[in-house]
Amino acid sequence: MSNYDNAELLALWLEDKLTPKQRDEFEQRCIKDSQFAEQVDTAAMVKVGADVYSSSEVPQWNKAATFEPQQARNSWSWLSGVSFVTSALAIVLVLTGTQVTTSEGELRIRFGSGQSEQALVKLVDSKLDAFKQNQQDAFTLYAQTLQQQQLESASQLTNYLLSSSRKERREDFAELIKFVNQQRSDDQLFYARQLNQLQQDVYHDATGVALESIQQ
């Protein structure tokens, strides 16, 4: 059974791509199928007709017209680039909300969404109020902390002074007692010496009296 339809087989024949097997099939079909054979004849006839087709010369025609439009296009081709850049710029300006204003010979370009002057002042005021409140709170906290710190410092100083004065007094008393004790010790020594002296004097006196009495 054939694997190729008539159109496929004819196409292969026209392009001279028939394999030996396909060629056999082609020839068999030409013999058996008269309609196919007629198609092949017509194809061959058209092919021959096309091959011997006598091409007359081309009449005069406006060749320059095919070149000039391109030249004209070249001279204006920069327009497409410019229009693209302009469009892109316009999109950027719209997206960024750019505003251009002139006043008193001064040109101002503002980016961002345009706000009214009053809204701007209100916004600034509210920001300033918030800032002021923050500062106030911070200052109050700072003062409280400082006060607390001062109280603690004063208390510590008082305690220190009290404890240090007690110690000094104790030391002073100790010194005084030591001094008194030393004085007493000196006095005792002095009195001892005095008594001793007196004893010696008494002894001498007694001895003299005795001798005198003896001598007498």
Partner: protein, 182 residues
């Protein structure tokens, strides 16, 4: 002997060398003109189509990548310009419809009737629908393969083959009629 290649001429034409463009034009004007002559059936339309095709080719010259042959690319443009031409001229007629009027100016044109066989062949072609006529034209006169025809006309290879087969069936009848008339 030292003829420049199509690609060299295209490169120069793109740089604005008019002479290179005209050399390219001279190389292909005859096949395109006769393509137009067989597709439209008369000289005036063939010349209009010729100009139309080359204007389109020049405008799209920078898009030619050199992937396939320049001739194939040129005839692809010619095919689409031809379809456009038919749409302008016969807006109600489909690509697969047989022409209502077999031929606008019966191939009485002197240029077509240079031989009796030319006249018979072209006359028969004029009575084919555009889709079939294109395949006959590209296959027998343009000597393109079915793959190239499919690429140029935007149809599948199998469609191209079956269209050629159908066209030949019709051509057979038409040429027999023409032969009897002659």
């Amino acid at each position: 002997m030292f003829e420049k290649s199509d690609e060299q001429l295209i490169e120069k034409a793109l740089k604005g060398h008019k002479k290179a463009w005209f050399s390219l034009l001279k190389r292909y004007e005859k096949p395109v003109y006769h393509y137009g002559l067989r597709m439209t059936g008369n000289n005036a339309d063939a010349l209009d189509l010729l100009q139309d095709v080359f204007i389109s080719v020049f405008r799209n010259l920078s898009n030619y990548r050199g992937d396939g042959s320049f001739k194939g690319w040129l005839f692809r443009i010619a095919h689409y310009r031809c379809i456009e031409f038919y749409r302008r001229k016969r807006p109600m007629q489909g690509l697969d419809d047989a022409p209502e009027i077999p031929c606008d100016t019966a191939p009485a044109d002197q240029r077509i009737e240079s031989t009796q066989r030319n006249a018979q062949l072209v006359s028969a072609m004029q009575q084919l629908p555009l889709a079939q006529k294109s395949v006959i034209e590209l296959k027998f006169f343009g000597h393109f393969t079915f793959e190239e025809i499919a690429e140029q006309t935007g149809m599948s290879v199998n469609t191209a083959k079956s269209r050629l087969y159908s066209a030949l069936s019709r051509m057979k009848i038409l040429m027999e009629v023409d032969y009897v008339e002659l």
